[in-house]
């Protein structure tokens, strides 16, 4: 399987008459773009904005981030989600780099939504603060969940994907500025040199804890709650086979953009053939019931062993209850003789003294920690807010609150905020970008 990602490095984004990309300038016809958004009659209000690093803009509630892309040979960017099923990870896909489509609720937020500051102190907390972003701010008629803490955000997330495909399509006939090639030989057909290297599998635990459909990450359109661990090619993930869900407290979440760019996968590709033999991805999931967690760990360890993996990396999209899946999976792999490193974030509580993961085991002796969801963050008012600032306090965002006897409300009258890192949009960057760690004080 060979994937070519053809990259166009976006230096600026402007609104104009006709959608186009030329010399680093992405021009978007706003009305035409909004008509793509409004193809879904559930969208009741919609507007587009362009925000760039350094802009005095705060975005909240942010629901999703997507990299604009197009397939050269046709077909949906997200097979099984925005179009028919097809094999992802093969052929050439074109991508607009250094930019993303961000989806922001015009009013209503939820547990899983987050916040992005494009400048100031808050900008260091999210990856998307350093990108040029096309921001869709919209509302829907999904009355059933308007006041629910958990939202599927279906209309908004799908609008974001349509918009990303529409914008990506403007480079379809252009020659990319750079082509990155991702190719792994079939496992049994590798050279002796590669076979002699220590082999590694990457075990991913995307969010799938909601029993009800519509909230979890989708794999080729299939709800990850309804699957057992399976073997995947890394190219599939880099090429739109997985989309983000709408469930996890936001700093722990992996957006669709994160899946499309998965730095841990890219890093393993760099090592492949040099220091490691990258076997591929074991796509697991996160579960609620103990037997589901144990069953998934059992499948992962068996698969890794049968593949002949010497080592494994396990990454979880979440904290709290999913820590049990994470630790169980590491323990199962270690018990199978597979040397394992974990990749996660922590929740140590307001005072920093709580046990960092809900389950621990001495066999999990190698963990890279990307952040602490419970860290308090205080930020000054921002000139412009896209979305609705009050949602942080009002709508049950994981890191916000309406009132606190010591800290007061998350959103103050002057527009300054106090929140937990929990609601920084995909802030802990467990997919591999994080330059944060957690230390003892």
């Amino acid at each position: 399987m060979k994937l070519e990602l053809g990259n166009f490095y976006v230096k600026d984004i402007v609104f104009g008459d006709k959608i186009s990309y030329s010399n680093g300038i992405l021009t978007i016809n706003k009305e035409e773009a909004l008509s793509v958004v409004r193809e879904d009659e559930h969208i009741t209000e919609a507007d587009l904005y362009i925000v760039k690093p350094g802009d005095k803009v705060r975005l909240v509630p942010v629901k999703e981030a997507i990299e604009p892309r197009v397939r050269v040979d046709g077909g949906p960017v997200f097979p099984g989600v925005t179009g028919e099923l097809m094999q992802a990870g093969n052929g050439r896909t074109l991508a607009l780099k250094d930019c993303s489509v961000l989806v922001v609720g015009k009013h209503w937020g939820g547990f899983q939504d987050g916040l992005i500051d494009m400048s100031g102190e808050g900008a260091k907390y999210t990856y998307f603060s350093q990108l040029k972003n096309i921001v869709l701010v919209a509302d829907t008629d999904e009355e059933f969940e308007k006041r629910e803490q958990q939202k599927k955000n279906r209309a908004l997330r799908w609008a974001g994907m349509r918009l990303a495909e529409y914008i990506g399509s403007c480079v379809k006939d252009l020659e990319p500025e750079e082509v990155e090639s991702f190719e792994l030989e079939p496992i049994t057909k590798r050279t002796a040199k590669i076979n002699d290297l220590p082999s590694v599998v990457l075990v991913l635990q995307p969010q799938s804890q909601m029993e009800e459909l519509g909230y979890n990450d989708l794999i080729y359109g299939w709800d990850a709650n309804r699957m057992l661990p399976t073997f995947m090619h890394p190219n599939e993930i880099l090429d739109g086979a997985v989309i983000s869900g709408s469930f996890m407290p936001c700093s722990s979440k992996w957006s669709t953009y994160d899946f499309q760019n998965f730095p841990m996968i890219r890093r393993l590709y760099e090592e492949h053939g040099k220091t490691l033999n990258f076997l591929g991805i074991i796509m697991s999931n996160l579960n609620v019931a103990l037997d589901q967690k144990e069953r998934a760990a059992l499948f992962v360890a068996q698969m890794a062993k049968s593949l002949g993996a010497d080592s494994a990396i396990v990454a979880e999209e979440g904290y709290g209850n999913p820590d049990a899946d994470f630790i169980a999976c590491i323990v199962a792999l270690e018990d199978a003789g597979i040397k394992t490193v974990g990749l996660t974030n922590e929740c140590t509580g307001r005072d920093g003294k709580s046990q960092p993961l809900v389950t621990l085991d001495p066999k999990a002796d190698a963990i890279v920690s990307c952040g602490d969801v419970s860290q308090l963050i205080e930020l000054p008012p921002m000139e412009t807010v896209l979305g609705e600032l009050e949602s942080l306090a009002r709508d049950g965002l994981a890191g916000g609150w309406a009132g606190d006897e010591i800290l007061g409300p998350s959103v103050r009258e002057d527009g300054s905020i106090i929140m937990e890192n929990n609601s920084m949009f995909c802030g802990d960057q467990v997919v591999g970008w994080s330059t944060k760690t957690v230390k003892e004080f």
Partner: protein, 349 residues
């Protein structure tokens, strides 16, 4: 000008050696013994105004009294920071520095800094509560240890950026916080580095050390339940409605025991839950859903168990630290043992 006060024992306070270890607490204006070195290291902006001296045995055998007296000395003093020791490897001295340091921190909410050798038992007892710098084994390390305490104290009072426990050189207080790496290395790079080291059997450092598990072995089964006295202990916060022991609704440090010898069941309105971590409606309607006295009485009548213990024990589990929970558990166990209880049903929420 910021102000500091230092606590030392009778030996360093130049009162005397072991024969003077019963020396009661005393506060002196100005500098005694190690206070002089501390003043020198702190510089001109922080003044050590007083030295407190107390015998190690006095503190050891009359802890409460010693602490109370010293807190009394401090009540009318102005100070921004409190130092104790350094205590090196001296166990009683380390424990004394810890006891008084913890009390001062709790009462006056000022930073407390001490220093002990890693083998000093005071480290494990008090590292959670105060800054304990990693010190030498004996007084030969006096200058070095005081310098570390003073440097950190000065930076702390100046509002300087404080680094992690390892980087600063004190024993970690069990507080984990996120930081950005000074030299930014992505998590993906760190994973590869750690993985390659682990694969090749080279030493590596996890970023999330797993604390030693404190596993309690499961007790032997009770041989004859029909003769056993069974007690109920709960972390579900069931108490008489006036909560006579003022058990906290979260992060509890107190427990209570309540007489049920004349009761067949716990009545709503007589008992309730004060636990803040769950919806209390069901428990308040029927407290037996948390402390199942009704069922235990039935078992008692059937002869399934010998007797229900006359008291049940209660505290609140939510937010309660493992340390406090362990302490309360030990205290409750002593009471249970004294009453000849054979078995316990432990209920949560």
């Amino acid at each position: 000008m910021k102000k500091a006060i230092l606590y030392i024992n009778q030996f360093f306070g130049q009162i005397g050696g072991e024969e003077k270890a019963d020396f009661p607490p005393e506060i002196r204006e100005g500098l005694v013994g190690p206070a002089m070195e501390l003043q020198k290291q702190l510089g001109d902006d922080i003044k050590v105004t007083h030295t407190i001296i107390c015998g190690d045995n006095f503190m050891g055998s009359n802890t409460e009294e010693a602490v109370e007296r010293i807190l009394g000395f401090l009540e009318d003093k102005e100070f921004d920071i409190f130092f104790a020791g350094p205590a090196f490897r001296a166990g009683r001295y380390g424990s004394a520095c810890g006891h008084i340091g913890k009390a001062v921190k709790e009462k006056f909410n000022v930073p407390v800094i001490t220093s002990m050798n890693e083998e000093n038992p005071g480290v494990e007892m008090f590292r959670e509560h105060i800054y304990i710098f990693k010190g030498g084994a004996s007084a030969a390390a006096m200058r070095k240890d005081i310098k570390k305490m003073a440097d950190f104290g000065r930076r702390l009072l100046n509002g300087a950026e404080l680094l992690s426990a390892d980087e600063e050189g004190y024993f970690g207080r069990g507080i984990r916080r996120q930081v950005w790496l000074k030299e930014p290395v992505t998590a993906a790079d760190r994973v590869i580095d750690m993985l390659l080291k682990k694969i090749h059997g080279e030493p590596f450092q996890t970023e999330l050390p797993i604390p030693e598990l404190d596993k309690v072995p499961i007790a032997e089964p009770i041989k004859d339940l029909s003769k056993a006295k069974i007690a109920m202990v709960t972390s579900g916060g069931i108490v008489p409605v006036d909560n006579p022991d003022r058990i906290q609704s979260a992060s509890a440090t107190r427990w209570g025991k309540y007489d049920v010898s004349n009761l067949e069941r716990l009545e709503a309105g007589v008992f309730k839950t004060i636990h803040a971590g769950f919806d209390p409606a069901a428990a308040n309607d029927d407290p037996n859903v948390i402390v199942p006295l009704d069922v235990m009485r039935a078992f008692e009548k059937e002869g399934k168990i010998g007797k229900v213990h006359d008291y049940f024990y209660s505290t609140v589990g939510t937010g309660t630290t493992q340390g406090e929970a362990a302490r309360m558990g030990k205290e409750i166990v002593e009471d249970l043992k004294a009453a000849g209880v054979d078995g316990v049903i432990l209920t949560s929420t």
